[in-house]
């Protein structure tokens, strides 16, 4: 894990793939973003070439960037105007199906994130593929490169509606038989759409529109991490003093 700059994974990736990947390394974790069209070729090279040998695909998951960085409680203007106690927002858990946020289309909303592991070099790499089209997110399937990705792709399809082109068996996997919608999308209500119960009159299990109210106890707040920095400095002082 102690790579010199010359042998570091990022350097090797840039040397091999050039502009195909946009690479960043944060906290020793290398992340490569790439276009969906390049995915299969890059993945095959990463698996087979001796410099990389990412023999295992550890994980693939979907992600929905709708509402990224949105806050429900403005803390910036606190000192000037005081706190606003009315919480407004459309974040997770605050809406039902009728009131779901609409028209929140942002460019590059959906992405598939892949975690690779090389046993030979003891290294990890994260790939991120953004879907070009918001309304029909599509990514090529990796099932021919790593067969183990099969269920992970099914899961991302089920929960986010990302379509994996070329997948042999793209069925829902975690949700109920006959489920409608993609529940992990940020515009899908946390309370869901339907609830299930046994009806003694009809003597069978029935589906009904959900009856619980959306409720969130803690507003979503983004604070500057200056707070944290200060606390860290204070903690360091504390240790020095004692």
């Amino acid at each position: 894990m102690t790579d010199t700059p010359k042998t570091s994974l990022a350097t090797q990736l840039i040397a091999r793939f050039g502009d195909t990947l946009s690479i960043s390394t944060v906290r020793n974790e290398t992340v490569a973003e790439l276009a969906a069209a390049d995915l299969i070729a890059v993945a095959t090279a990463l698996r087979d070439e001796p410099a990389f040998r990412f023999s295992e695909l550890i994980d693939l998951c979907g992600i929905d960037y709708l509402g990224y960085g949105q806050t429900e409680w403005d803390t910036e203007t606190v000192s000037g105007t005081g706190f606003s106690r009315g919480v407004e927002g459309e974040a997770q858990g605050r809406f039902d199906w009728a009131g779901r946020p609409r028209g929140g289309n942002r460019p590059r909303r959906f992405a598939a994130v892949i975690q690779l592991l090389s046993l030979e070099h003891n290294r990890r790499l994260r790939l991120r593929v953004f879907c070009a089209d918001d309304s029909l997110p599509m990514v090529p399937s990796l099932t021919l490169v790593w067969p183990g990705v099969n269920w992970f792709e099914r899961e991302a399809f089920d929960l986010y509606g990302i379509i994996f082109d070329g997948h042999p068996d793209l069925r829902r996997i975690l949700t109920d038989y006959g489920f409608v919608g993609h529940p992990f999308r940020k515009d899908f209500p946390l309370i869901g759409n339907v609830e299930v119960r046994y009806d003694p009159l009809q003597k069978r299990v029935i589906y009904e529109p959900v009856s619980i109210e959306p409720r969130v106890l803690v507003p979503r707040t983004i604070r500057d991490d200056a707070d944290l920095m200060q606390a860290k400095a204070e903690a360091a002082d504390h240790w020095r003093e004692n």
Binding site: I173, I222, L228
Partner: protein, 417 residues
């Protein structure tokens, strides 16, 4: 000539060998499997989505309920990913406590596995013995957190509290009194660490007992040797980790290769298999129990000698003590903010994995700087393992599917999340 067609058989979800709620649709040619299609998700609770609507700390308890026989290892992955984004590190004593409890958890998990797997394959006795030791370790969980299973003990920045000075004792009852009561309480006179020391001294002989029942047992070998053979290449293609990968002869263990907590300081060995069949994976897991026992002993020794803090002294992340709260206004405010709003984690993303008893349990965490995670994805080893079911059981007999479910060490809390 008479026309013979394959028939389809449904297995589970209400079947004792389904280890929870696995539903398998199998296409059979006589008693041979032609195709197996596992249906999962019957225990799907949307843990990852729930976590997005709560402050970071409130989701730690959900982690226990994923793989509900290796609770603290799940917490460890989640807590570690938060710590990575916050850029904080738990104090040394907390790291040792985590290492120790990860290994206690591994033994708990493997005891559950050895008992239920043997039960699936027709050996009734093992589960009775395994649960005897499991109960002893459950008491340690209870002593430290108040809960036997869902502990919520690890916190970003350390662990919830220091190890207790005493163990709970059995009280006199019509069934336990006099000399008998004294005997069952004999380990419990001292602190929790004394109790664990007594346990680790005793445990290897208990593992010998399980081995006595199984390792050379003719029926056990007939059911497991040569069944579900997985080559190293196949294991890597299907993203296998943990004992599934080591059983195939690949020496890969995150505790050695990418050490976290205090594993770098521990002296232990990594057992690997040769043939990659169910029997080798059994041997690997049994040896892992002995190695875990060794690690616990080392941790106990260190923890006895080195008292110290178990939580970072950073009030933006960890709550101040009750005493401080009552003397210091600032501490009071910190406490209030921490429990009403939580802490904000700097924007960024990370993937942190631990070697859970079942394999690599990872947490991919994305934060946009808020007090709630933007996205949490939990990488469950069982999910990857089970997906290979169809490839591996083709051509096996129906009864071997049960052996396979056992050797995958499935728990549906983590597969379905």
């Amino acid at each position: 000539m008479q026309e013979i067609r394959n028939y389809t058989m449904n297995f589970g979800p209400q079947h004792p060998a389904a280890h929870g709620v696995l539903r398998l649709i199998m296409e059979m040619d006589g008693e041979t499997i032609v195709r197996a299609d596992p249906h999962v998700g019957l225990l799907h609770r949307g843990t990852e989505k729930l976590a997005e609507s709560k402050p970071f700390n409130q989701s730690i308890g959900y982690m226990d309920r994923l793989d509900y026989v290796s609770m603290m290892c799940n917490e460890h992955a989640y807590v570690r990913s938060i710590e990575t984004l916050l850029g904080i590190e738990a104090p040394e004593r907390a790291q040792y406590i985590r290492t120790m409890f990860d290994e206690i958890t591994r033994i708990l998990n493997h005891l559950m596995w050895i008992g239920s797997n043997a039960l699936d394959l027709g050996a009734m006795a093992v589960i009775l013995y395994a649960f005897r030791e499991r109960e002893e370790l459950m008491d340690v969980y209870e002593a430290v957190s108040g809960a036997r299973m869902h502990a919520t003990y690890y916190r970003p920045g350390g662990v919830y509290r220091d190890l207790p000075e005493q163990m709970s004792k059995y009280r006199e009852s019509p069934w336990h009194k006099g000399a008998d009561l004294k005997r069952i309480n004999s380990w419990r006179e001292g602190s929790m660490l004394d109790y664990l020391e007594a346990f680790t001294a005793d445990f290897p002989s208990k593992v010998d007992e399980y081995e006595e029942l199984l390792t050379t047992n003719r029926i056990w070998k007939q059911r497991t040797v040569g069944i579900g053979v997985i080559s190293p290449e196949l294991a890597q293609q299907w993203g296998m980790t943990g004992a599934m990968l080591r059983g195939s002869g690949v020496e890969w263990d995150l505790r050695k290769k990418q050490p976290y907590a205090k594993y770098a300081e521990m002296d232990f060995d990594i057992p690997v298999g040769v043939n990659g069949d169910c029997y080798d994976r059994y041997l690997v897991r049994v040896e892992e129990m002995r190695q875990s026992n060794r690690i616990i002993r080392q941790c106990v020794q260190w923890l006895k000698a080195n008292p110290g803090p178990v939580m970072v002294k950073n009030f933006k992340v960890a709550p101040p003590s009750r005493v401080e709260m009552k003397e210091d206004m600032e501490a009071m405010i910190h406490h209030f903010k921490l429990f009403t709003e939580g802490y904000c984690v700097p924007a960024g993303e990370t993937y942190c994995a631990v070697e859970a008893p079942k394999g690599e349990f990872g947490c991919y965490l994305v934060s946009d700087g808020a007090n709630k995670p933007f996205r949490v994805h939990l990488r469950a080893p069982g999910f990857a393992h089970l997906s290979s079911m169809d490839t591996i059981v083709r051509g096996h007999m129906l009864a071997d599917v049960v052996a396979m479910i056992g050797t995958y060490d499935l728990v549906f809390g983590e597969v379905d999340r």
